[in-house]
Each structure stands twice: as structure tokens, then as C-alpha cells.
């Protein structure tokens, strides 16, 4: 198999596991409740994202430092309590700016302390003992999570409530209220995940086709090399 371009693309993408290839929400299915039920408006999505960042980043750092030393059964409670403790300042900060949003989020802000993205990253043995790698991996995962939250929140708020960041948008005349409820989020996420998977497959197909064309050109060149053209096309003897 001749996969020059595909391999080059794959090496480039492999270094960013969270954003492009293994998106934690769409591919691994982590932290789904927040993307489904809590991202009905852009501001709510921002609050949940900041809460997630504040809760996850330090906890994973702590996990990578103390992971191998703590016994198995005590690890999860420690991470959960640490994440919840970290959420306290985050909540104070966010109630200052968005008191109404945080109140309407209700259960979804405190539950950030036990979300599956956090547990998944803390239990990764390969990150134990390498705080820098853990930081990088968590950063990418959170970026992937934030990207999906942003897209879903924009779609749902724009078509669901006809507003963007609270301000009504002029060119939206009708509103689909179903998008604001959890089942609307589930359906949007399902189509987003399927779409991303289909686009990924199309991209890989295009790369493969270009590889095949490249191979055919190289074979044709190897078969009869292009004549090094002298003034009147006579071969220049080496």
C-alpha cells in the first residue's frame, strides 16, 4: 500500500489526540450530560466549560503526581473531593458574573466534580508520573470538549431560542423549542458525531485517492523518465 500523504497526515494529527482524532465527547463519549443538557445557551456553555477546566486540570495534575502511590480504592474519592473543592472558587467567580445562568444550570454545575472525562484522564496509567504530559493531554481534551460545547451551544441557542449570548438575532424568525430540552441536545450530538465521523472518512478517502494518483505519476515517471531537454531536445550525455 502506498500511503505517503496519509501517513504524513496521520503523524501530524496523532500529536493532537484531544482535538482532532479522539475527541473526548464525540469519539469516546465522555462528559456527555453537560454537552447534552447544560449547553442550551452560549453563556451556560461557557460557565460549564470554565467549571470543567477549573475542576479537571488541577485534579489530573494531582492524579499524575500521586496516582501510583495511592491505593486503588481511595483514588476516585480523593479526585472527586479535590475537584469539588476546586469548584468552590469557580462558583464564586461565576456567580459574580452570571448569577442567573449558574442558578438555572442547577445540578449540572456541581456534578462537574464527578464527570467521566475527569475520571477517564485520572485513571490513565501512562500519565502517572509525567505531570507535563498529563497537562498537555488534559489541555487538548478540554479544548476538544470546549469546541464541541461551543458548536452545540451556538446551534441550540440560535435555532432554539433565536438569541446569541442573550441578544436576539434579527434574521431568525421561527424558534424550535425542542432544541433547548435534553432530547434536542441528544439528537444534535448524535448528528454532530455522525457528521464528524463521515467528514473524517471523506477526508481519509480523499487522501487515499491523492496517494493513488501520486503513486501512478511516480510509476509513470519511473517507467519512462522525462527527457532532460538540451537546447533542441537532444539528450545531454552525463
Amino acid at each position: 500500500m502506498f500511503l505517503l500523504k496519509t501517513r504524513k497526515h496521520h503523524n501530524r494529527v496523532r500529536r493532537l489526540p484531544g482535538l482532532i482524532t479522539e475527541n473526548p465527547v464525540l469519539a469516546l463519549g465522555l462528559a456527555l450530560p453537560f454537552v447534552i443538557a447544560a449547553s442550551y445557551s452560549l453563556r451556560a456553555a461557557l460557565c460549564v466549560f470554565t467549571g470543567m477546566v477549573v475542576a479537571t486540570l488541577p485534579t489530573v495534575l494531582l492524579a499524575s503526581l500521586t496516582g501510583s502511590r495511592l491505593p486503588a480504592f481511595i483514588r476516585t474519592p480523593v479526585y472527586a473531593l479535590c475537584a469539588m473543592a476546586l469548584l468552590l472558587p469557580a462558583e464564586a467567580l461565576l456567580t459574580a458574573h452570571f448569577p442567573v445562568i449558574l442558578d438555572s444550570l442547577g445540578v449540572y454545575f456541581p456534578v462537574l466534580a464527578v464527570n467521566t472525562l475527569l475520571m477517564h484522564l485520572c485513571e490513565k496509567e501512562e500519565l502517572w508520573g509525567h505531570p507535563l504530559a498529563a497537562l498537555r493531554r488534559t489541555g487538548l481534551a478540554l479544548a476538544g470538549f470546549g469546541a464541541v460545547m461551543g458548536i452545540v451551544a451556538c446551534v441550540r441557542e440560535l435555532f432554539g431560542a433565536g438569541t446569541l449570548w442573550g441578544m436576539p438575532v434579527s434574521w431568525i424568525s421561527w424558534r424550535i423549542d425542542a432544541l433547548l430540552f435534553p432530547f434536542g441536545g441528544l439528537i444534535v450530538i448524535a448528528f454532530l458525531a455522525a457528521g464528524c465521523r463521515a467528514i473524517g472518512r471523506l477526508l481519509r478517502g480523499a487522501l487515499y485517492q491523492s496517494d493513488q494518483r501520486l503513486q501512478r505519476d511516480m510509476l509513470r515517471d519511473a517507467a519512462h523518465p522525462p527527457r532532460p531537454d538540451g537546447v533542441d531536445g537532444t539528450p545531454i550525455s552525463k
Binding site: F73, L81, A85, L88, M119, A178, L180, G195, R197
Partner: protein
């Protein structure tokens, strides 16, 4: 007698009406894989922990009723209760797979979500316990329903982009659309 009625009423609403899986989309991670036996053990552990810690949380709520607790602080206390119940459960289950599954089943969105949701409305212990038990049982039934859906989806030739997680999310979305018809309005999250 009145407590029993309240217990049953809250258990039923938590299990069928305000099912935390379909109406609040909490704990979807475990709906995607797992054989019926794993689902059963996950559900039983989850229900046990939620039920037990709902007693503790009720006690905590009464002790700290005076101070004005911010939601996250209250959640911290509930998490402490869950940890206590989790540590109490540890010596009970011996089997290695149960021991490995215990932390995952104890600390997930469904448990903490159910406890936080049960706090505002109820004033009596029976109501809180009923809500805890009902949400655990409702969550397990929801997982089994998704399991039968998954078995049915294996028989159909799905489009390639929808195989696996996307079609499961769509299936859950349609069932929660149906249950939304029963509630009719957005539940207080």
C-alpha cells in the same frame, strides 16, 4: 402510614416520571456498553449507594439548614456522604470485578445528580429516601431498555457514520422525547 405513601410516591415519580437518565441525561456513559450482568451489578451498586447516602444527605441538610449553603458547598457535603457510604460498602463486596466496578458506580453523575435533585422539594426522610431509591431503580431500568435497543440495532444494517455511539444517542434522544410528553415542561434542573 403517611410516610410510606410519600416514600412510594417519590419513588415512583423518580423512577418513571423524572427518570434521571432520560429527562436529565445523567450517566449516559454506562448505557453504551456492558453485558446484562454488568448492567445489573452497576445498577444495584448505584441504587444501594444512592439509597444509603440519601439518608446521610437528609441528616446533613437538617444540620446545616441554617447556614445558606451555595449549591457547590451542599454538593461537597453530599459527596462526603457518598464517600462515607462508599467506604462502608468496600468491605462488603469481595469479588474482584465488583471491587473494580465500585468506585465507578459510586462516583458518577447519576448518583450525585440524584442526591442534589432530591434536596429541595422533600421535607421528610421518607421522601428523600424514596427519591434516592426510585432514581436508582429508574436508572437501571433505563439501562436495560437501552440494552434491548442495542440488541435490536445490531440486527439492522445501519449507515456507517451512525454505527455505535451516535445511533445510541439518537435512540436515547427519541425515548426521552417520548417521556417528555409525559412531563410536558422543562424540569427544574
Amino acid at each position: 402510614m403517611e410516610a410510606i405513601f410519600q416514600f412510594l410516591f417519590y419513588a415512583l415519580t423518580a423512577a418513571l416520571l423524572e427518570n434521571i437518565f432520560f429527562t436529565r441525561a445523567l450517566g449516559i456513559r454506562h448505557a453504551m456498553f456492558g453485558s446484562p450482568r454488568e448492567i445489573l451489578s452497576h445498577g444495584v451498586i448505584l441504587t444501594g449507594i444512592t439509597f444509603a447516602s440519601s439518608f446521610l444527605c437528609y441528616g446533613v441538610r437538617h444540620l446545616l439548614a441554617e447556614q445558606s449553603l451555595t449549591p457547590v458547598l451542599a454538593a461537597l457535603c453530599y459527596l462526603a456522604c457518598v464517600t462515607i457510604v462508599y467506604l462502608a460498602f468496600l468491605p462488603v463486596c469481595r469479588r474482584p470485578d465488583l471491587r473494580r466496578m465500585l468506585p465507578v458506580s459510586a462516583f458518577n453523575c447519576a448518583v450525585l445528580g440524584a442526591l442534589i435533585l432530591s434536596s429541595p422539594g422533600q421535607d421528610s426522610l421518607a421522601a428523600a429516601a424514596g427519591f434516592g431509591l426510585g432514581s436508582g431503580v429508574g436508572y437501571t431500568l433505563a439501562l436495560f431498555l437501552i440494552k434491548t435497543g442495542r440488541q435490536r440495532l445490531e440486527l439492522i444494517t445501519l449507515p456507517r457514520a451512525f454505527k455505535g455511539m451516535p445511533i445510541l444517542l439518537l435512540y436515547t434522544g427519541i425515548v426521552s422525547l417520548a417521556i417528555y410528553g409525559l412531563i410536558g415542561h422543562q424540569l427544574p434542573t
